[in-house]
């Protein structure tokens, strides 16, 4: 059986599994809609009587947060949770006794698990954003759009790999929540989730440029707003590619080390 078909079967099984939890899917969407409406209301209120705040016009600021959010939901992963569960509850044993490596199995499984909620999140975001399109900045040129799409695709891979690494910590300790929380906060800060990174000191902006997080929110949003050039975008793609190589090597090393410690408990 060709490899792609094998991946497809795994993807398909977990995609279907995602459909089982309909109330969860609806619940998350309600939360997302509320958050987006709060962003619009909050920044509309802050901009009352002002044209420019911290170098951003009202359309720029609202576009920054709404698009940034959209990019954020497109590149998220919760692989850490399922990997952690596999290791701590012994589910890993069922996979590692099969002739496909766990690392090869993870990608189709996690894409299968996440694709439906992600697609629904993107649709929800677009449904909220579209009625307010008059408040937003117009689409940039095709070149910028293509760079943003490539940047988000690489950011998604980075997100997966970081999740793998955190999940693998379970080989040593079952407590991955705290580490995930710390990295989550760092990620939100350095991705520009709380506020545009351009408001930070230059040193921190430079540092964030070398870290992998800003490419899932701040950088693509700045590219969209025309505050960064195509050259900046291409440089960002290069940095992302380098991170993917580093993280992949770290994932392989950590899995190899962790696998030696695995005891297959609960079986």
């Amino acid at each position: 059986m060709p490899l792609l078909r094998r991946y497809y079967h795994i993807f398909s099984a977990f995609w279907q599994r995602g459909l089982t939890y309909r109330s969860t899917i609806i619940g998350y969407r309600i939360g997302e809609i509320t958050e987006l409406l709060v962003i619009i209301l909050l920044w509309s209120r802050i901009f009352e009587g002002h044209t420019v705040i911290l170098g951003y016009t009202k359309p720029e600021m609202i576009t920054y947060f709404l698009l940034g959010n959209l990019f954020g939901v497109a590149v998220r992963s919760y692989a850490r949770e399922s990997i952690s569960r596999d290791i701590s509850e012994g589910g890993l044993s069922a996979i590692i006794t099969k002739p496909m490596s766990y690392l090869s199995f993870l990608a189709p499984r996690e894409i299968g698990r996440m694709s439906l909620p992600t697609i629904l999140s993107i649709i929800t975001n677009l449904l909220v954003i579209l009625p307010f399109h008059a408040l937003l900045i117009d689409l940039p040129n095709l070149g910028i759009i293509l760079i943003i799409i490539a940047m988000l695709a690489l950011a998604l891979i980075i997100e997966f790999l970081i999740n793998y690494l955190i999940g693998f910590i379970t080989f040593w300790t079952e407590e991955t929540e705290a580490i995930f929380d710390v990295i989550g906060r760092l990620k939100r800060f350095f991705s520009g989730y709380y506020f545009p990174l351009s408001l930070m000191p230059v040193a921190l902006i430079t540092l964030s440029g070398w870290m992998p997080f800003s490419y899932s929110f701040f950088t693509p949003a700045q590219l969209y707003l025309g505050k960064m050039s195509i050259t900046d975008g291409l440089r960002g793609l290069g940095i992302e590619a380098a991170w993917i190589v580093i993280l992949w090597l770290a994932v392989k090393l950590m899995y190899k080390r962790g696998r030696k410690r695995y005891e297959g408990v609960n079986i």
Binding site: M1, S12, S93, I96, K98, P99, M100
Partner: protein, 327 residues
């Protein structure tokens, strides 16, 4: 015949930490924890030939499951060697994984929220089974285990017995040559246990699959395994025919008698050791070679015998005796 499983001086150690009791102990453990090692498997040796169905017996924590985990690539051994079908399980080669399967009675391998057919399709993908072989094998297994009506029902809605049948199908779709069954009947009712046992027996005979079975239910072992390996505290304490084990460790038989009228203990004096007594029934333990003679004496002793049965000692009791002797 060439053995397909060869285990030599196999060792597995697990690391663990001790913590002193109370809050003080917890705080101390934050800074210093003493690492200790426990031998789960100590220097064990055995070999199994193609098509054999061997029972692996022992109390909880004896090392049975750990041995199966080593042979099925789940955990790494700490020492010794293992060879299954010519492969070293420690190398975790995909070619080896395509030729064995493990079923863990206490761990579901199927996706609970989906119908089992979807899990079977995933198993097909994981093993790279062609559509033709998949359809043929599935058809055969579904018929044998009589689960055709269950294929489109969510796994979590199935009973334990039905689920175990589906677990067996998932494990056998790629026709493994070696099968490790870890407590396949645990928690099942007697009807489901019987049905699983019959299937394992049939499958082993038909396909000459080499099977190692661990079970706490002696009926499983008695009905399926001619040979047993008994393991305790990580070491093998018996490896041989089940019938020899009974002869060696239970040199007596049981005479089970029921009476038409109540009798007294004294009336049975001198016939054998009374292991159970009620006024209308009794069980006597007598030496194997004296069983027939004692039965005749009982019938001629003028007692109101209604029925008499010469029975083997329960295997469970034999095993318990062995473990008690070792302690």
């Amino acid at each position: 015949m060439e053995p397909v499983i060869i285990v030599k001086n196999l060792v597995k150690q697990y690391a663990f930490y001790r913590k002193e009791p109370g809050i003080k102990g917890s705080i101390k453990a934050l800074f210093y924890r003493k690492k200790e090692f426990r031998d789960a498997v100590k220097d064990i040796n055995f070999s199994i030939e193609r098509g054999e169905l061997v029972g692996f017996l022992g109390p909880n924590g004896a090392g049975k499951t750990t041995t199966l985990k080593i042979l099925s690539c789940i955990v790494e051994r700490s020492g010794g060697s293992a060879n299954v079908l010519g492969y070293d399980p420690g190398r975790r080669q995909p070619e080896y994984k395509s030729r064995f399967a493990i079923v863990m009675g206490q761990k579901d391998q199927l996706i609970g929220t989906l119908p089992c057919f979807e899990s079977f399709k995933m198993v097909q993908a994981l093993y790279g089974i062609s559509d033709k072989v998949f359809t043929e094998n599935l058809e055969e297994l579904v018929t044998l285990l009589d689960v055709r009506d269950l294929l489109d029902i969510q796994v979590r809605k199935l009973s334990l017995g039905q689920r175990m049948k589906c677990e067996l199908i998932a494990a056998l779709l790629h026709k493994p040559e070696v099968l490790f069954l870890d407590e396949p009947t645990i928690g099942l009712d007697v009807v489901a246990q019987k049905s699983i046992r019959e299937f394992i027996k049939h499958y082993n005979q038909k396909n000459k699959t080499t099977i190692i079975l661990t079970s706490h239910y002696m009926e499983d072992i008695e009905e399926l395994c001619k040979r047993v390996i008994i393991i305790d505290k990580g070491s093998i304490i018996y490896d041989g025919q089940l019938s020899d084990l009974i002869k060696k460790h239970a040199p007596y038989k049981l005479l089970k008698v029921t009476f038409t009228q109540d009798i007294t203990r004294e009336q049975l004096a001198g016939l054998g050791e009374i292991s159970e007594f009620q006024p209308y029934a009794a069980t006597l333990r007598v030496r194997r070679e004296e069983a027939t003679k004692t039965a005749a004496m009982l019938l001629n002793a003028g007692l109101p015998v209604d029925d008499l049965l010469i029975d083997e000692v329960e295997v469970d009791d034999v095993i318990r005796t062995i473990f008690n002797e070792k302690r």
